[in-house]
Amino acid sequence: MNAPSRMSPAAAEQQKGRGSVHKNGAPRILDRAFARLLQRRTRFGLEGTGAVEHLVRASGGKEAPAGAPAFLVGHQMEVAQAGHASKGAIRIQNVDKVYHAREGAVQAVLDCSLDIRAGEICMIVGPSGCGKTTLLNAIAGFHEITGGTIYLDDEMLCGPDKPRAEPGPDRVVVFQNGALFPWKTNLENVTFGPLVQGRLTKAQAAEKARGMMADAGLGGVEHNYPGEVSSGVRRRVEIVRALMNDPKVLLLDEPFRALDSLTKSVMHEALLEIYYRNKVTIFFITHDLEEAIFLGHRVAIMTTRPCKPKKMLEVDIPHPRDYSVLTSPRFRELMEETVNAVHEEAVKAFEAGEKEM
């Protein structure tokens, strides 16, 4: 009658994996998300995109049925289409970037033009080392560009006379491996921006931070150090830290790369939830095509080095989305389209790599 010993190896593995998440203090959020997923799957079956519309219809467009995630209520109209935020459009015009490495000049970005609409989630996909991060660094103001112009709304960030943009709180970056300050508690990290900018007093910043952290399911970890919580929680703290600056644009550089797929799926929903609350433009670099299509209004598929958009994919699955769209036929179609385009570039990148060797 020993239950654990009769568990299948796969189930045991699953439980072990989840146990490690619990240890680091994210159980409630995960459980809530699992419960939600289960509920949705069972309620609507696996019939895909219809699920959300059904949910909205069932609620008469006003109120979601019991058990539906709170963020759907009242949001579905506003967020069904992107482009409602009035600020945060990025215009990248004919941008070039040449950098000098030991083996000589490398053309990382060549004549790259990309329009990102205000308030949309624009996913940037491309082979490793193709120059996506170069583009992000140029927008953030960490690196110079060697040609072209980047605008944020009507303001020129960098251009011919000003190769390097001034870093600022209107464009905050969430880094690949995370850059929470380990010597500050999560709350101190989140209040960092408003405090150094002198926009809020300490008490005001703490109050706002608590509110935003609670909304993101981070109540209870305020006084922990980043080193004390799981990587999923850290990622969310970092996104909240960025949003505390009321940015026009959120620049995400593969923020969920290091997470296991289970945590990742929860993080996707958490990010969408946060996005529906705070509509900002999101510039999101990823290698994960499923992630790209699930989150993005549009997916920009970039060529291998030098980097420029090869294909712009409109993801015509309406927001708000949940995980049921992953199994919808439309999702599969888009996925196929993306895979083909990306694979072509990946092969090119691989061959170019071979040549360099």
Partner: protein
Amino acid sequence: MSAVVATSSRPVGATHPRSRPRQSIFRHHVMRAVICIVVFLVLWEIGSRLNAPWVGEVPAPSVVAEAWLPLLQDQGYWYSWYQSSRRVLSGFLVAMLIGIPFGLAMATSRVFHDITFPVFEILRPIPPLAWVPAAIIFWPTQELSIGFVIFLGAIFTIMLNVIGGARSIDLRFFQAARSMGSSNWDIFRRIILPGVLPSIVVGCEVGIGITWNVVVAAEMISGGGGAIQSSAGGGLGFFIWNSYIGFSYPLIVVGMISIGIAGYISSAIIRKLGLMATPWLRTR
């Protein structure tokens, strides 16, 4: 799957690593240390009594203890402790006060680094003992000369650690701070200082050990602080030197062990203070 959902209702952040009871672990660790010391003393005693090669030349622990016991009631002996501690502490504090800002300046300013680094690198390998004659000539008083030699023992280690620590701060921290609108002063105060703090702690911990290493060399200068008797308070370093001159081998060992204990205590204090200053590292 539902079973898993049901079993875990602990709120986020409920487990607090810092509140873990550590008492039992602590006891084990004291026990191990005591056993090790006892075994060492027993082996030493046996080796000394049997006149084993090498160990036979050293006075047995019982002989050392016999020489030590009367000293425990001797004010001069404790005055030596006080003198050495005072010298080590002041030399070390000055080394910190000069070494930390200097190291930070060298780490943050390329120009300053280029100007000072060669001089720093030439001075660094010179052993403190080699400074003794120069120190006597340089400084007007004996105490200043002693303090200077001790200071030299600690400063290079502290500086090197500060420079290395500041250099190894993750670039992303600077980028994140910049993109959230930090000024240069914010970056220095909120990123560089806390980022370099763990390295300062390590530098100080190693540095204070070195100050005790050089205390013998430094106190050779003192010449007994006016009192020639071995027990009359020239400092622990001088105590050893003087016992050697007076052929009292048990007292040499007493002096050596005393410095060992003093070094252990001061490193432990630095470690404790360091842990208080860097609470985020306690969780590792």
